[in-house]
Symmetry: C2
Subunit: 393 residues, 2 copies
């Protein structure tokens, strides 16, 4: 039969990263494509112990339905975690989500009518673009420099558009650019959001994975009017396979997010929430995060050093101070999609940058992930990539 789809489906396309994931699961491929954590650091033993204890002590509760907003003891632990980014929240301001990706879907569902404007960094997380597009918004992309979004451009956009519904930002080790906002910019963003009465969606999956300096306060830290919705996740500090994240928002907004979650999937897994809650009790997650940081820092250093040696001078890239990604800019006339096809022939994968721009794709860009490959593969992969780039230039 011929199927007629909703209009929103014209906007939705398959995620380039998710599609690449299948290709890059072949063992011979050196993949800098996904945003996958280093699996060798997954605390499998502690997780196993936590699982066992939960099922031993509370099996019948763990396997039963639970409240939509989430398992209360875990919410309380998230309240504590939020203090690391200088945010004071109560457990009534927290909704457990199935990864922070679900938080992105929900904020758009709650706030976006077709034609509404979302302001975002340029480039921005392609999973957010895809989640938002289902609600048929328009996007305004704002340039970033080394301190974050350029505030003059942001104010211009706010001044000249009256249908902006929220500003979406990833202020720490941004995906895909690797950039981090200065404290000044964070304050200025709140000032402008207050002035123009706009909601901010702060997506923070990587904030704790910093290699240098101190954790900066979340933008929500500076929020005095309850206009920031903060999205967090266990994916990068623990493991992504369990699919648990959280949203922090004012009670009124949170009640809307909860209603949306009731319709979307009733609740996140009771047993997974109880497992993570127990895990956090029996395991030193701070020490674990230190291990992750040490490993990723080494891999970042190795990747950037190898890129310096192997990439032609015309190729630029960012120097991330944390997180999982560096962002590469090729000379204008080079298409990273062509490059990706050629690199894949050499069994090297990355994500072409075009998908990270909701409006005008800059095809001479690509994203490199350094968290998932070991040292040998980083060196070998970047070398091969350098050769392919030299040929195409």
């Amino acid at each position: 039969m011929n199927f007629n789809y909703a209009k929103r489906m014209d906007n939705i396309k398959a995620s380039e990263i998710r599609e690449l994931l299948k290709l890059t699961q072949m063992p011979e491929v050196i993949s800098f494509a996904g945003g996958m954590p280093a699996p060798e650091l997954f605390p499998v033993e502690a997780f196993k112990k936590a699982s066992k204890e939960v099922l031993n002590e509370n099996g019948e509760i763990a396997l039963q339905y639970g409240p939509t907003e989430g398992y209360e003891p875990l919410k309380k632990k998230i309240v504590e975690r939020m203090k690391k980014v200088y945010v004071d929240a109560t457990s009534d301001q927290i909704l457990i989500t199935s990864g922070s990706q679900q938080g992105l879907d929900f904020v758009a569902k709650v706030f976006i009518d077709p034609g509404d404007l979302i302001i975002c960094e340029s480039p921005t997380y392609l999973g957010a673009i895809n989640a938002f597009k289902a609600y048929e918004p328009e996007f305004v992309e704002i340039e970033t420099d080394d301190d974050g979004m350029v505030m003059e451009d942001l104010e211009e956009a706010l001044r000249t558009n009256n249908n902006v519904r929220f500003i979406y930002v990833i202020p720490d080790f941004q995906n895909p650019s690797g950039k981090t906002w200065s404290i000044e910019r964070r304050k200025k963003l709140i000032e402008l959001a207050n002035k123009y009465n706009i909601i901010i969606v702060e997506d923070n999956p990587y904030g704790e994975l910093l290699f240098e300096g101190e954790i900066r306060p979340a933008i929500k830290h500076y929020d005095t009017e309850g206009r920031v919705i903060f999205l967090g996740t266990f994916s990068k500090i623990l493991c992504p396979g369990i699919r648990l994240g959280w949203a922090v928002a004012e009670e009124e907004v949170l009640s809307k997010l909860i209603m949306v979650k009731q319709g979307a999937d009733l609740q996140s897994s009771t047993v997974s929430q109880m497992q993570i809650d127990r895990f956090l009790e029996i395991y030193d997650i701070e020490e674990h995060i230190e291990k992750i940081k040490a490993l990723y820092k080494n891999r970042r250093d190795l990747m950037l050093k190898t890129m310096e040696e192997e990439f032609p001078e015309e190729v630029q890239y960012t120097y991330p101070k944390g997180g999982l990604f560096t962002w590469v800019i090729l000379p204008e006339h080079i298409s990273a999609r062509d490059l990706a096809a050629k690199a894949l022939e050499k069994n090297v994968a990355f994500v072409p940058g075009g998908s990270f721009f909701p409006n005008e794709a800059r095809e001479n860009t690509f994203r490199m992930n350094y968290s998932n490959m070991d040292d040998d593969r980083i060196v070998e992969g970047v070398k091969r990539l350098g050769e392919v780039i030299k040929k195409i230039l």
Copy 2:
């Protein structure tokens, strides 16, 4: 601040069941409200064993990202399960979802534009109504008799409306009515759907939990044109806390559902999928389903017998041949909401029927669940309820 929400939020209200869940978690309350399985039957030990084995053997894979469509070995087992309802599918036609509730959200997201029509049984599952309403449809409710939807009314609705996007049905032990469709009606539904070129969404959480007779072929069994989307779940045959279900659809439709899942939550939990996959290998789920059926049959018998003894003659109710619910109809002038408030004073809970009607609430109805309370509480709860009804009549 004052928040401006998307227009769709005017349609979405808190789920009455989910809100009741909080109240009914108090131990003194005898609750016939939720659709909660009997937790004493949860196969906790086998689940623990499966968890341990998965983490022992494949911990790094289990805690990592996986493909959006789901864990292939589990999809293959679902292909086998589908044969129990006489559906031949391939694993390429299956998407793992976070409960069948997520399937409901996704089908509406893929097919519904604001103002489109959804045809459903009257009454119908309130979680489906809530999921669908986020996409701003209109509803046409079709009466049911003891054999399912009344086909003359359905054809009239299809003939007189040109913007019907799908027909949503729960043909086996319907929630909330407990009714089951005859084979003739199933065939006739397909015939009408073919004639008017309409999609069918078949929601089947309870089909295997039949107390009498043989499992009837799913409506999808009769589908020759790929127009039925079938939604299944592990919630009622295993446990709901793990939040895993599935959708079966033609490849083209499935590819749309997959794209929507990418934006919604990337994928369902890798570790949970692998746990259930392993669980199904080490445990006899068929024997387990027999245990569930035996227990629920006894509870249904006890509830209906006690209702016969304790409820006044003017009160009618259905005689479900499987599943979790019976549907009670009070005399026209009695409000089940008033009754619920008075019953709760006696620590007895049920779900008033109004929320199960998307258009015109029939407030003289309510839903009773018999799966979750033990024998003593069923008898005591129905007795108290009978007293309250007698007073209010």
